[in-house]
């Protein structure tokens, strides 16, 4: 019997002691509760034997369902059907695991185990997600959500341009000068001016690019040139502009600012984004509901600050 009730240590005569002792205890309310509790537990146990041997008994029972599950796991790895030998070794592994699991539980190894905690927390999160499995949204709902989140779907700006290249390799230190004087000669000339080709060097990629985004131009010319390009106005020869490959004189033909597609054009993407947001929202709400039931106690602020300051240095290696 765990715990005990403090007793009066008077010393009556032996026979009297025994009977008064019993009387004392017989009237003790705590004892009554204990006995009633024991009776309840025993009764419950008798009426509810656990099914698949996952109680702390010495029996490990594998059912046909368990075997089926072993077989399925095997097959889901893309293996051919398990042989008798395979099944036998799978069963052995499973029993081995079950024994270790029970021993571990008996020793309380699940308490304070980070991995176990994390896995159980993850299972709760899965459940919470499941409970809020997305329902079919109404079109008005999607449209409203789309209006609020337009920037997410805005497409990149695009530019079409042609350019003349002045090679660093060929011209060395005089490359910028060459590009500058070429631009002066082209002032007022049209895009297709025959003079243009004669002034420049052969470029290792394209002379003409249609509808390219900033990223695509950065890949070829480098980020500095790409950024500068989008600042230019269409319709004249401009430059010289430096790229990672040399200098350029550029004619921008058109600049299409990024537009947002219409609802109809990208409805599947909108729906997908809406579902993602619902999932995040519902997870948050479910968790908030759970959290509301707990009181969280943290060390005082000064202790936390002190700990941050003294981290790695004080403790040495991580």
């Amino acid at each position: 019997m765990k715990g005990s009730v403090g007793l009066n240590h008077d010393e009556p005569a032996s026979g009297e002691r025994t009977s008064s002792f019993l009387k004392r205890w017989g009237r003790e309310p705590l004892l009554h509760f204990l006995l009633i509790g024991l009776a309840l537990f025993a009764g419950y146990r008798a009426l509810n034997p656990e099914a698949i041997g996952r109680d702390s008994s010495d029996r490990i029972v594998l059912t046909e369902d368990d075997l089926r599950q072993l077989r399925t796991s095997w097959l889901t790895q893309g293996r051919p059907s398990p042989t008798q030998e395979d099944m036998s070794s799978l069963i052995q592994s499973k029993v081995h695991e079950e024994i270790l699991y029970r021993e571990a539980l008996a020793l309380g190894l699940d308490k304070g185990d980070t991995i176990v905690k994390r896995r159980l927390a993850q299972k709760m999160e899965f459940l919470a997600e499941d409970l809020t499995a997305a329902r079919e949204p109404k079109t008005e709902e999607l449209k409203a959500w789309f209006e609020k989140n337009r920037e997410r779907f805005t497409l990149a700006s695009r530019v079409s341009f042609r350019h003349l290249y002045f090679s660093l390799d060929r011209r060395g230190a005089r490359v910028k000068e060459a590009a500058a004087s070429a631009r002066e000669r082209l002032d007022g000339k049209p895009a297709a001016s025959p003079v243009a080709a004669t002034l420049a060097d052969a470029f290792m990629f394209q002379n003409d690019y249609r509808d390219r985004t900033l990223d695509q131009i950065s890949d070829v010319f480098g980020t500095t040139f790409a950024t500068a390009l989008f600042q230019l106005t269409p319709g004249s020869w401009q430059g010289p502009i430096e790229s990672g490959l040399g200098w350029h004189v550029v004619w921008v033909e058109s600049m299409t600012p990024g537009r947002t597609p219409t609802f109809e054009e990208i409805e599947p993407d909108i729906k997908s984004g809406w579902i993602d947001e619902q999932r995040i929202e519902s997870r948050r709400r479910t968790f908030d509901a759970m959290k509301a039931r707990y009181e969280v106690v943290l060390p005082n602020r000064l202790a936390v600050v002190g700990m941050m300051a003294g981290t790695a240095e004080a403790k040495g290696a991580p």
Partner: protein, 611 residues
């Protein structure tokens, strides 16, 4: 420290093969794997952005890294659970599973990575990681499943080391030799590096009948995080204790014996493909039309053929001509008996990085079980000329300011291209050629972050590096007639058949200890006179009849070849940390010797030289 403890725990269980069955059950693995596949499919935009369903098989027997990254072509028949290292840490089992997947209509390939940490087990030449002899079937299975290998990632490069390639002045680049989880002992280099594997592969073609190391190259990150830096100027650390940490932490400190300074940004894989789709990119990977970079966006092309004249690059559509008249990187030259092959190589700098220093072609070949490598500088920036005495091109110098961690592009070239013919081609020998492109020196991330903290660049790592790209090789295989016509080498099998007897320890000691031995390498024709002391040390007293030159002495002492041992019927010399055994046979009154890494050939004639 939760994530750290978790990481420690996970890696230890992985290496000790204690499966966390909790985490391996179908509903956990299945959930995550399914999620990953769904994410890959969700963000796949053919023509714009390609994703692959993929995972890492993390076999680490005795902490040697044998990891492979497995890529599936598409997700139509992706299995519910991938084959993990818990199922088996034996590459043969992995390949068996992969073959069965392919049979079931699910196309996939495996890319071994971080071979520099494999302790010599990634590219074996005699027995595999479990001590089983490798044979033709093993080689064929390997090539069927592993068309590529990863050459550069955050934990170093796997091309070569100064020990393995003493004549390669650029080999001391991000050499990272560390035992997983801080086990002690040096990493074994033979069998861990790609250039040596390429060479051994050529020799194995001869003895096994199949070359198991005929793979292309790619790069990777292996950052163990969904984000990774591939540039020096935004490097935020890697797994093992320096993620998202401060510059202070990245410059000092580490975990399990790993020094955070050794880590570097991820490399990039590049493929030449018709379009940006799963099918086109996967096909390019399978045919090895790929190259690896150190993280910069270098553009490189390599073609090999028999009909490339020096003017081919003057054509505007030379690429079309090159494809028509030759093979691209990753391909095989068709056999020819008359002329030397020529190679077209073209490189353009990364527009946001340093200019180019040079383009090199690295050739490897084999003869009678011996393998050789030579590096040719084929195109370079500026007006430098190769040194007439050494044949080497002078370095380009540098523009790096260590106080500010900046550089300027006032040296180097934007574009380098040339047509190069092999000046020392022997049509009877198997060979490979790959291109390596080097940028001018630029500051390493450790220098940049030291400057952020107003410090000098840290010791123990280079302050500047030359970013680079490596292409998949082009292979040359002689035709059967040419092979047969060539004079065969002497093999151990032949010797023993003719009644030659291997010398035991006592006979070896009598022949060698306290004596000067003349060793003639019948493949190269070189002769060495080697004096052997009775204290286990030896000294090369002459090479080809003359005093050995400094570079030969350097080469030999670099590999610590100044010590020898006689045991178990072998004369043992250590080269770059790996012991090689020489067996000496007596044939009549002559001595012929075979070295253990020469694939059964006996290439040495040995004579005692009496003073």
């Amino acid at each position: 420290m939760n994530s750290l403890a978790t990481y420690k725990f996970l890696t230890v269980t992985m290496l000790k093969n204690h499966p966390l069955t909790e985490l391996s059950s179908p509903d956990v693995l299945g959930t995550y794997w399914k999620r990953l596949v769904n994410i890959a499919d969700k963000y796949y935009r053919p023509g714009k952005f390609t994703t692959f369903a993929a995972y890492e098989w993390t076999a680490s027997p005795n902490t040697a890294n044998l990891h492979r990254n497995i890529f599936f072509l598409d997700t139509k028949k992706v299995p519910d659970m991938p084959f993990s290292a818990i199922d088996s840490d034996d590459p043969r089992e992995l390949w068996k599973w992969m073959d069965s997947q392919r049979k079931a209509g699910n196309e996939l390939l495996a890319i071994p990575h971080n071979s520099n940490l494999s302790n010599g087990l990634m590219f074996p030449t005699e027995v595999d990681d479990k001590g089983r002899p490798i044979d033709k079937a093993w080689a064929e299975t390997r090539m069927r499943n592993e068309p590529l290998a990863e050459l550069k990632q955050v934990k170093g490069q796997s091309e070569t080391t100064p020990g393995l390639s003493p004549n390669d002045e650029f080999s001391n680049y991000e050499v990272l030799a560390w035992q997983l989880l801080g086990h002690t002992g040096d990493q074994i280099n033979y069998g861990s590096y790609i250039r040596q594997a390429y060479k051994d592969g050529l020799a194995l073609q001869d003895t096994l009948g199949v070359n198991p190391y005929k793979f292309g190259v790619v790069s990777g990150s292996d950052s163990h995080s969904t984000a990774v830096a591939y540039r020096q100027n935004n490097f935020f650390g890697v797994h093992g204790g320096s993620y998202d940490e401060t510059p202070e932490k990245r410059l000092k400190g580490g975990l399990f014996g790993f020094n955070n300074l050794w880590a570097s940004p991820a490399g990039l894989s590049v493929v030449w493909a018709e379009e940006n789709t799963r099918e086109a990119i996967f096909a390019a990977m399978q045919r090895k039309e790929t190259y690896a970079t150190s993280g910069v966006r270098l553009k490189v092309r390599l073609f090999g053929g028999w009909e490339f004249g020096p003017d081919v690059l003057k054509q505007k559509d030379w690429v079309k001509t090159a494809y028509a008249k030759g093979v691209s990187m990753g391909g095989d030259l068709p056999a020819s008996t008359t002329m030397a092959p020529s190679f077209v190589v073209w490189a353009v700098k990364d527009p946001d990085s340093g200019n180019l220093d040079r383009v090199q072609i690295i050739k490897g070949w084999t003869k009678h079980g011996q393998t050789f490598e030579k590096i040719y500088d084929v195109a370079w920036a500026g007006k430098r000329k190769p040194d007439p005495a050494t044949g080497k091109l002078p370095p380009i110098g540098h523009t790096v300011n260590l106080a500010t961690a900046t550089y300027t592009n006032s040296i180097g070239a934007v574009e380098l291209k040339t047509v190069w013919a092999d000046p020392e081609f022997d049509p009877s020998l198997d060979a490979f050629y790959y291109a390596r492109v080097l940028e001018i020196p630029t500051p390493r991330w450790s220098t940049i972050q030291a400057v952020m903290l107003s410090r000098v660049p840290p010791d123990g790592v280079a302050a500047t590096i030359q970013e680079r790209a490596w292409t998949s090789p082009i292979w040359y295989t002689p035709s059967e007639e040419v092979r047969q016509a060539a004079k065969p080498g002497v093999t151990v099998a032949e010797l023993t058949q003719k009644g030659a007897m291997a010398l035991g320890d006592d006979e070896l000691k009598q022949l060698i200890v306290g004596n000067t031995i003349l060793v003639r390498n019948t493949v190269t024709g070189r002769q060495f006179e080697i004096l052997h002391g009775s204290d286990g040390r030896r000294l090369i007293t002459a090479v080809d009849g003359k005093e050995p030159e400094l570079d030969v002495m350097g080469e030999l002492s670099h590999g610590r070849q100044l010590q020898y041992e006689i045991r178990d019927g072998h004369y043992v010399v250590e080269v770059a940390g790996t012991p090689f055994e020489v067996t000496v046979y007596k044939m009549g009154d002559k001595y012929v010797a075979a070295r253990s890494n020469e694939f059964g050939y006996a290439n040495y004639e040995v004579e005692a030289v009496n003073p």
